[in-house]
Chain length 341, copies 2
Amino acid sequence: VSGAARQVVVVGDGGWGTALARLLVGAGLERVALWCHDPDYAEHLDRRRTNPRYLPGFDIPPSIRISADFAALADGADLLVSAVPTSYLRSVWSAHRAALPPGVPIVSLSKGLEADTLLRPSQVLAEVVGDALPVCVLSGPNIAREIAAGLPAASVVGTPDAELARRVQATCSCATFRVYRNPDLAGVELGGVLKNVVALAAGICDGLELGDNAKAALVSRGMVEIARLGEALGGQRATFYGLSGLGDLLVTCMSPSSRNRTFGERVGRGESVEDIAASMAQVAEGARTARPLHEWMHRHGLVLPICEEVYRMLHEGRAPREALHALMTRAHKDEARDLAP
Amino acid sequence: VSGAARQVVVVGDGGWGTALARLLVGAGLERVALWCHDPDYAEHLDRRRTNPRYLPGFDIPPSIRISADFAALADGADLLVSAVPTSYLRSVWSAHRAALPPGVPIVSLSKGLEADTLLRPSQVLAEVVGDALPVCVLSGPNIAREIAAGLPAASVVGTPDAELARRVQATCSCATFRVYRNPDLAGVELGGVLKNVVALAAGICDGLELGDNAKAALVSRGMVEIARLGEALGGQRATFYGLSGLGDLLVTCMSPSSRNRTFGERVGRGESVEDIAASMAQVAEGARTARPLHEWMHRHGLVLPICEEVYRMLHEGRAPREALHALMTRAHKDEARDLAP
């Protein structure tokens, strides 16, 4: 495809990184590489051509180069994909700073916020690689397993650099993966963060067995809060109603395997937050970000009733039924005011 | 509640009308009446205090007056609720024009468009009752069975008359039913019409077993089309992202019993449109409105790829897999342009 990258390194062997590497091969790219942190696991991936830890059940095409040697893979690359979990983002890219090919753009797939700094992944990357490498983000309703299975999906590349956006579109698009562009990088990236608290609340609805009316209302009103907070944090309100905001929220609410939804469901069923957290290998992102979002909300003077109640349930022992009653009996509101652009 | 109506007649004994009459009693209203077209069935409803035809499994409180005598019920009423199916709307209200208490507002619950005129229910009512009675609409993710079961739900009253809106909020609100107001009557009412085609498309996704990524993307991109067409038809773009648009679309997509979703699912599985239509007692609204929406779309010069493909599948024998391929391989787009207010 005209404008498409010719040699791409996917940095990180997680589910989404591995699925995207496969997708790029399917999209016609001949030179795709997958970087894996652990040399032993890299050897396993290379020999067995499967990723049983993070994407079980799918093969890795023979044309994909696999190695733990970052410099060797990055040599000659004209696009880098950062598929590193947010918690390892800074250390991984810092370690390879010297080997980065100058001027080559990075597409970040990471979701969430860095634990201590509360920076977005693209902000962490910018701190690490400086202005030398342009950073954009790719985000949307993209469950890795479904994409690996060849099921259709759509996503958004967020960057104000229209040429870079078109290059990512040209590189990643194929008959099963459709990429839109959006200049609002912050908005695209924030959608994937803010949706987690609402998905957790939707899980609580499920746990309380409140039905489909309640869940649909929760998601609709949750969108108002996501757009309001996201705008205060630097995104464009409208962006949150696109694939990276609404789309990602919907897939998280629908998916039975979503950690945020599951966490919420158990809260709704009456389990204690401590017990749930102790039983899960990885803490749900929505549970982890409820506190910083709550702080941001108050700092910006925003009224976000659903986020407020989720915070109370997670951190102040508020019972889910009480939270529901509080949400249902607030003063009567004008919806148009909440939706106005 | 201050500002609440004191005597309400629900006109129509369908599922939603009956559930709303119960809800009004629960909200503390003492004088609630339910009008039923068929005198024999009215007698059954009154004696047995159940509605096995339209809301099986729920009782009808003894305080609700039930009759087929419209004039007797309407005497002294200060709010009328039109819970009549759109196909009977004109005939029912025309028949009772003489008995209408002057100046008493009508809250319309009907969804869809009148078959020949393509008028919205509130427009039909305005034609029948003239300017004498103000008409507003109540719409949102409101599956009647769930509301009858006392599960929480939210809805929107659409009218530019703020005083009437507050009156409906005061009358219908309780701890399990939350009513927002929105001055955009046309937008609130159109949401419930336009969502049907997208819900049908979501059903096709289910039938093709395309997964959650695809369905989330379809709903997100479907919202762009609903907002675009809805604006051309006289609504405010933002309204479609509220409870009466997005909210109603979500509940329709989630509900296994939705006719539109089910119709679509069977199309996706490969059944012929003729066979599906022949096997269903009531045609799915989305199938019925695909053609007029398609005409509107062309008349207004709008590009609505999902609506276009649904039309082709229903009326031109287009195979679902072909439609999917066409949607996935369109030219690359700027999402921000589609979402801009």
